[in-house]
């Protein structure tokens, strides 16, 4: 499972969460009586999936800064 430490595969996981979230959100919100709880679960997955690139970028830049401080 070492591949999961690579940023690109983390983003891939994010893409997968977006897909699952979209499916759930559609099931919940497209019908006449909206299933609010399911809709929000779907939206939550989409939002988290799209946050992953930002989170990993933040972590990467923090690690780079720590590395530079360590060298200095």
């Amino acid at each position: 499972m070492s591949w999961i430490h690579e940023r690109v595969w983390q983003m891939g996981l994010g893409a997968l969460l977006v897909l699952i979230g979209a499916l759930l959100a559609y099931q919940a919100a497209a019908r006449e009586s909206v299933n609010s709880a399911l809709m929000w679960v779907g939206l939550g997955l989409i939002f988290f999936g799209l946050l992953i690139p930002l989170i990993t970028r933040f972590i990467e830049s923090e690690q780079e800064k720590k590395g530079e401080r360590g060298e200095n």
Partner: protein, 546 residues
């Protein structure tokens, strides 16, 4: 909703943020696009009073549209990876060299015709990443190899990769007359195409280069630019792919013609190295990486076979009426209800939103061609056993950043559209820009989108709705404005940082990115003026019937 400066600026914020992050802070699209999405979301909820259900369903529409497009990108990449692994691109290079010693024709063949062919089958930066090293292999200086590769292929963006950028534009707009828009786009891109050929000839040998190249440029432009113009209104998917394939074949005929059978008359060319290739080992390794290497020598016919299969599949499935009808009858689409914001902005419901026909989708043809390529090359010993896993993993890995960017960009466009933000932007612009001035500047918006995202497709998705709404608000020709949007988005790739980085990185001159962009600006600016003039003419004379 009334347009005020505040809500106009709020609507602009997601796009401005993406632009700032991409250009000002050098973020990748996969990271910048989600920021734009979240800003659009916040604006939709807090200012434009969009309910959660609208946000959810517009986002779902965006994800569905993104899948539609990814199903082209991933198989196209797979075909490229398989061909690269087998060394097919090296075989194509050898094939061309064996026909003529004329270096000017080599440069045009690779930098303009072959790069356009690659754009026809797979965009994604492959034209720049593959063509630049190939040009260096022919003796072009690395800096100029990147400039030429970028100049030569961008005219082919809109209808390339089986018209995926065009499909993106149709997905996010309600085209009143798609054929007229395609035709007008074809005219604009023909002009850009001719200009690209002449400019490359000028780079090679100034006036003498142009004189010598003129027969080739006129013949090839007629075939690939003119062919695209004719096919775009009736068969957008084939509009670029077929003509660029024919043009590639024509190069071999031209090579045997009296004009190009012998050496070039240009004795000193700024773009050619005077002697040996650069001896920078890193650069050589990178160049080899982009075009692959052959296990054993491959014939030109074998190298081109997968693309001939692709042509065959497309022709049979799309051009033969009864076959097209039968295959197209298998469809999948989702219904969406009518949606409304609390300010009264309505998005109509739809019975079957952007239905997907798998048996006539370009992605299926590309997938089948990639499978054929793999079986063919493995059978001929061109692909080592066990490499398929690496090829598949490599393809998926390369696709992921694009997938994330698309999953953010298209939902962003749909949320902005569904909450009324795009309309507010358009109405604000319409309030201050006279109609024809906006028409002339419409391609600039396309270039801006392409510059921001390194993608004609993403530019169309981001700005297509805005351009459409502005055209409506100003009561000007939608045909002219949308054609200008996608044409501008196509040529904008010549200066898009992501694409420039791909090409320059492949030949070891990424530290000269700024210079490359500055040089290519002349191609983009002249093309912008020409396209702007054509757009104004189209608006004035309702060219194309729109």
């Amino acid at each position: 909703m009334e347009v005020t400066l505040i809500n106009w600026l709020v609507a602009l914020l997601p796009l401005a943020a993406i632009l700032y992050l991409l250009v000002g802070r050098n973020w990748k699209a996969a990271t910048a696009a989600p920021v734009g999405f979240f800003l659009a979301l916040a604006a939709a909820v807090l200012v434009f009073q969009a309910p959660a259900r609208l946000i959810a369903l517009q986002t779902v529409k965006g994800v569905w549209d993104a899948l539609f497009i990814l199903y082209v990108i991933v198989p196209a990449l797979l075909l490229y990876e398989v061909s690269k692994e087998a060394g097919a691109f090296q075989a194509i290079r050898r094939g061309i060299e064996s026909y003529t010693p004329n270096e000017l024709l080599h440069v045009l063949a690779i930098g303009w015709v072959f790069s356009s062919f690659l754009q026809g089958i797979t965009g994604f930066g492959a034209p720049a990443a593959v063509t630049a090293p190939l040009l260096v292999a022919f003796g072009v200086r690395p800096f100029w190899a990147v400039v030429i590769a970028l100049t030569g292929h961008t005219w082919a963006n809109t209808f390339g990769t089986l018209a995926v950028a065009w499909e993106g534009l149709t997905a996010v707009t309600d085209m009143e007359n798609a054929s007229a828009i395609a035709l007008t786009t074809g005219v604009m891109l023909l002009v850009a195409n001719v200009f690209a050929g002449l400019l490359i000839a000028w780079m090679f040998g100034r006036g003498r280069g142009i004189r010598e190249a003129l027969p080739a440029v006129l013949i090839i432009s007629t075939i690939h630019g003119g062919g695209q113009l004719l096919l775009a209104p009736i068969a957008p998917t084939l509009a670029n792919f077929l003509p660029v394939t024919v043009a590639l074949g024509t190069i071999f005929l031209l090579a045997r013609s009296p004009w190009y059978r012998k050496d070039t008359e240009v004795t000193e060319s700024e773009v050619m190295k005077p002697g040996e290739l650069d001896d920078d080992e890193d650069w050589e390794a990178r160049a080899k990486e982009a075009v692959g290497h052959e296990e054993q020598e491959m014939s030109l016919l074998t190298a081109l076979a997968p693309y001939l299969v692709l042509i065959g599949l497309i022709v049979v499935a799309l051009l033969i009426g009864p076959v097209n009808e039968l295959l197209g009858s298998v469809r999948l689409g989702f219904s969406f209800p009518e949606l409304q914001t609390d300010t009264g902005f309505i998005t109509p419901g739809v019975e079957s939103y952007r239905s997907f026909a798998p048996l006539t989708h370009p992605g299926t043809f590309l997938l089948l061609s990639a499978l054929f390529a793999f079986l063919l090359f493995r059978n001929k010993g061109e692909i080592r056993p066990g490499r398929i896993d690496d090829i598949l993993v490599g393809t998926v890995r390369t696709s992921i950043p694009s997938a994330v960017a698309l999953f953010a960009l298209i939902p962003l466009a749909k949320v902005m559209e569904g909450s009324g933000q795009t309309l507010v932007l358009a109405q604000g612009i319409a309030a201050v820009a006279p109609g024809l001035v906006y028409v002339f500047l419409a391609p600039v918006v396309g270039v801006l989108g392409s510059f921001m995202t390194s993608s004609n497709l993403s530019s169309n998705i981001l700005f297509g709705p805005l351009q459409e709404s502005t055209a409506t608000a100003l009561n000007i020709s939608q045909v002219a404005v949308l054609a200008a949007q996608t044409a501008g988005g196509a040529i904008g790739n010549a200066i898009a940082p992501g694409i420039v980085l791909l090409g320059s990185g492949a030949v070891g001159v990424s530290d000269r990115m700024g210079e490359i962009i500055r040089i290519n600006m002349r191609y983009v600016l002249v093309s912008l003026v020409l396209i702007g003039i054509l757009a104004v003419l189209a608006a004035l004379f309702s060219f194309g019937g729109g």
